[in-house]
Symmetry: C2
Subunit: 346 residues, 2 copies
């Protein structure tokens, strides 16, 4: 098992000092004889030298690693965002380290500590479903760690936050259903305590209001995030002999659950009932009828996250606290298509 080559070894080999070797190896020093530098570089190459980032981290408190903490990555949304974040950060010379909290606040806290202790240069976080206590994150931020939140955020955290413009696109989504002629629209919400659920509910209401469509709180139903939960909610509604004119689900999976139940009972989509999803996934084009949904552009989200994080790293704490809204696309498909009008909105 060959020992790892260190600058000391190179120094010995070349009968010079470690500091000379170190300087020769580091681009930024110019007070060094070009010849010496070449000799060192050559020796380093030949001896198979590779710098030890651990030692460097210990010395500089800087790692060129960025930590990413997400609540889960079984769904496609987070992997896609991470993928795009990684793509961009690698270009900037950073390495991305991903940890999943598995929707557990406790795990999230551990991940946070691990990454902080490992001296990542910045942190990109999407909170778990459970996260209510945000003291620790704020503490990290106060200690000077650049942090950017996205998607699942908490307004009280003192960092920039990148979120989808849920209000606006929920409004658009609802408006689309209205313009297609649907009435008596039900909104299947994600769990209420998520900030995004509330925004989507408001967008839903706002569109109804705009078109002066009467509305009762009964039209909003709290569901979960899975296909099963969507199907369950639809079932409960139909069992009460309530047949919606349309269902606007705050998540594609919930929408798919609803479609399954509607189909099972023989309802015709989109003719009798319209269905709309949100946060488009690959599933939208597989379910029949294909699901109309709002697409969240993971590339744009990643772009903004990376931009804000690099700003924060370079400006050294002058992070712009606040929300940065990202817009999406309404992809109209069969599940809501009554008339050929109402063009794709971007």
């Amino acid at each position: 098992m060959e020992k790892h080559v260190t600058i000391k070894d190179i120094a010995k080999e070349l009968n010079t000092s470690v500091s000379t070797v170190s300087k020769a190896l580091n681009e930024k020093y110019f007070d060094i004889n070009p010849e010496t530098r070449q000799r060192v570089l050559k020796a380093a190459r030949e001896m198979g030298y590779r710098p030890n980032p651990i030692a460097r981290k210990l010395q500089q408190g800087r790692s060129y690693n960025i930590g990413v903490i997400v609540p889960e990555f079984l769904d496609t949304f987070f992997p896609e965002v991470i993928f795009n974040i990684q793509k961009r950060l690698i270009k900037e010379g950073y390495q991305v380290v991903v940890m999943s909290s598995d929707e557990s606040f406790e795990t999230e806290l551990e991940n946070l500590k691990t990454l902080e202790d490992n001296m990542v240069d910045g942190l990109i976080i999407s909170l778990t479903r459970e996260t209510k206590n945000i003291d620790y994150i704020n503490k990290i931020i106060d200690r000077g760690m650049p942090v950017v939140l996205f998607n699942r955020v908490n307004p009280s955290i003192r960092s920039p936050k990148v979120i989808f413009d849920d209000f606006k696109w929920s409004h658009f989504a609802t408006e689309h259903l209205i313009l297609q002629g649907y009435r008596n629209i039900y909104h299947f919400s994600l769990p209420y305590h998520l900030a995004m659920s509330q925004k989507r509910i408001q967008g839903f209401k706002s569109a109804l209001k705009k078109y002066r469509i009467p509305f009762t709180e009964e039209h909003i139903i709290e569901t979960g995030i899975s296909i099963e939960e969507g199907q369950e909610a639809m079932k409960r509604l139909l069992d009460r002999d309530i047949v919606p004119g349309a269902v606007f689900a705050a998540g594609d999976k919930v929408a798919i659950g609803a479609i399954k139940e509607l189909k099972r009972r023989g309802y015709k989509i989109p003719d009798q009932i319209g269905v709309m999803g949100f946060t488009e996934s690959a599933l939208a084009e597989i379910i029949e009828p294909n699901l109309t949904s709002v697409n969240q552009p993971t590339d744009k989200i990643a772009d903004k996250i990376v931009e804000l994080l690099l700003d924060s790293i370079n400006d050294n704490g002058k992070a712009k606290i606040g929300e940065f809204l990202i817009g999406g696309t309404l992809n109209v498909r069969e599940s809501s298509r009554v008339m050929a009008s109402d063009p794709k909105r971007t």
Copy 2:
């Protein structure tokens, strides 16, 4: 910005030495006055001390971090496996660091180096589609790093490998179609150069042989891994006026593409044509008709990976080089169900 508390700070506070503090903090030392230990522990707690893993790593060359490198995580398979790996390793006191290679050999190599340099205690790897040169991985292994490969493996790598029993389950899958009465079965293969593709092809052939069903190489068609590629392949076949009795696709997405095209042209599944997938995904229960597929148990795969890795870490290099086969489940659904017989196989 409060400075990070170190053992030095504690020592100063308590008018003692760093070595005493270090020993008090480390369970394994017994030559220390219990009282002193308590005082140290108390001070550490009060001062908010947290050990610096970087320093520890530098000192011990051990990190309690495990690196995981996967080719992608946009599909559900890898995220699920990672999720399960993480779940198990956390219990053992390890932290899991995930990196994606994005199907690029170059990125894979970088990831490999980053993780090695960061002194992870072990590496779990699934190769990219491109990876042909495995010298570097073997070098790492020879340097003593515990490595376990899974799913996308290369037989020449000197490490344990956890793979799905592609041959056997491909055989079963094909057999199921045969027993359902289908003949003239076409196999839509994944890219040929993947080891698993070859295994699945062999399994396919083996089942045909068992039932003495005539076979020509024409019945095996190389496709890709996407829905589009599956649809494209189906289209090309039908355009040549070849109508299969059944299609056994080596991936669910390919199978779904095939179904789409068949439906578009009005063929009835499963009555006219049977369809079978592989590596079941959530999509199987969304496409209509629901897709019969072979499920790969990501939990069992993760179990085996973790078991082998821990073995390798503890036994210190006495790793069992070789392939460990994991079995699956054949989930029969509508796309291949002609008769009610042929029970679920496990």
